[in-house]
Amino acid sequence: MSTMSFLDRYLTPKLAIPRKTEFGAGILVSGTILACWAIATYTGFVTRDFLPAPSDVWNSFVEKVSNGSLQKHIGVSLTEIYLGFFLSSVIAIPIGIFMGGFKIVQAALEPVVNFMRYLPVTSLIPLLILWIGIGLEEKVAVIFLGTFFQQIVMVSDVARGVHADLFNVSYTLGATRGQIVSRVLVPATLSGVLDTLRVTMGWAWTFLVVAELVAASSGLGYMILQSMRGLDPAGIFVGIFVIGFLGLITDMAFKWIKRLVLPWEYVGK
């Protein structure tokens, strides 16, 4: 190893650090949090009715899995979120690309999109409940409205960022306008679109849980609310952890998809 001091090695902005250290730092912080939690609860420093101990959460988790209720709630929540997110993405991505690529589409849609974008979707929940009830459709609608306009704006920014030189050189190679869209504009936005999906997926989780907290008869948010009513903080923690893990898995899936469909961004890295 070199003679660099600790300060030089770790406190120089952006300097690469050994992979082992990177991994260790992550473990250290998560481990410390877990340890503080265990010490605080097992020593009686905070009462377990207030903050459940790790083993209480684990037991509650095992119980919910063995009676099948956790799987049911997860199933409901995942259906709602993926349905809403999928519908939103499928429509928002092409609209966003056209909005970023064509000034006329931008001029036509921008006022509506920006108005809707600044409406907090949570304020629409009461209206949606009145209109379509508290079932699957309402959750899908909340997620859709929450992500759709954001996705349009973010994707259109990505499309607008595609350099005109790329179009010009394609024209001189004989491309028609249709080919410019399908062979240049769309592939050029792919990477940014995937980033947009990854970010908006995180928001979709928030909207879902809020919608389920407000009114639902199943789902993880509902499960959390039921635990609160039953004065069962361990149940609440199970809900929170499950949501966290599902989010983590989704995020990893996005990273994996990106590597798969954008090999050119990862070559030599």
């Binding site: 350099h163 030189d165 790329l166 010009n168 050189v169 394609s170 024209y171 001189t172 190679l173 004989g174 491309a175 028609t176 080919q179 062979r183 240049v184 592939p187 050029a188 792919l190 954008l262 090999p263 050119w264 961004e265 070559v267 030599g268």
Partner: protein, 260 residues
């Protein structure tokens, strides 16, 4: 004869009279078929605007731009372009970048691959055919851009300071490579540069452009025999022509600096 002909063209940018910029004014230029024509001029004088006219990427405010007998109104594959910033498709490999133009007009897969492979070889990148642009150096990227333009077999090759971003060693290698390819293909070339040595080394004729608004102020036939290599850049004939261009450009650069 399909010559490139600019007749009394002016190009102005901006809508209001007050803020309008006149890039080109009453410019006349005729480039005969198969000529390697080089336009040299101070930066900001309107060289790119002139090239874009021929490419069909912008329109003259006044005057006519012709290719043979037809008015140039939009870009077309008979007028290929090599831009300064490479503009490669980052999501395509070297081979696929070169195939791009051929894929647009439904050339069969087999022919497309063969033609592209030939040009990839001509620019010396066969070993890198499956690499992505992000893995290439600047000189290699520009070679891909040249191969991509040539693969669709254009009648005119338009090059806008293609080697401007390269270091001087790489640049001279690229110049020799370009001449070698041109010797074989014999296309009309319109090459733009602000580098006098480059202009004289490459060109059949060097057109010297004035400071903005750009006009052609000198037309210099370069009577240096081909094939040329770097040794000609120190020959007496070369130096004499260089002095001639330098003296006319010197005044223009003075003017350009006074304007801005």
């Amino acid at each position: 004869m399909t010559e490139v002909r600019l007749e009394n063209v002016s190009v102005r940018f901006g809508e209001s009279k007050a803020t309008q910029i006149t890039a080109l004014e009453n410019l006349d230029l005729v480039i005969p078929e198969q000529q390697f024509a080089v336009i040299v001029g101070p930066s900001g004088c309107g060289k790119s605007s002139c090239l874009d006219l021929v490419a069909g990427l912008n329109r003259a405010t006044e005057g006519k731009t012709l290719f043979g007998d037809t008015l140039i109104e939009k870009p077309g594959p008979e007028r290929g372009m090599v831009p300064q910033n490479y503009s490669l498709f980052p999501w395509l490999t070297v081979q696929k970048n070169v195939e791009f133009g051929l894929a647009l007009n439904n050339t069969s897969k087999a022919e497309r691959e063969e033609r592209a492979a030939n040009y990839v070889e001509a620019v010396g990148l066969t070993k890198f055919r499956d690499s992505y642009p992000s893995q290439l150096s600047g000189g290699m990227k520009q070679r891909v851009a040249i191969a991509r333009a040539l693969a669709v077999d254009p009648e005119v090759l338009l090059m806008d300071e293609p080697f401007g971003a390269l270091d001087s060693q790489t640049r001279s290698v690229m110049q020799e490579l370009l001449l070698k390819i041109w010797q074989k293909e014999r296309k009309t070339v319109l090459f733009i540069t602000h580098d006098i040595d480059e202009a004289l080394f490459l060109g059949d004729v060097v057109y010297v452009m004035s400071a903005r608004p750009g006009r052609i102020i000198d037309t210099i036939p370069v009577n240096i025999k081909r094939p040329r290599d770097y040794t000609v850049t120190t020959s007496a004939g070369f130096v004499k022509l260089k002095r001639r261009i330098m003296s006319s450009l010197h005044d223009e650069v003075d003017k350009a600096l006074a304007i801005s």
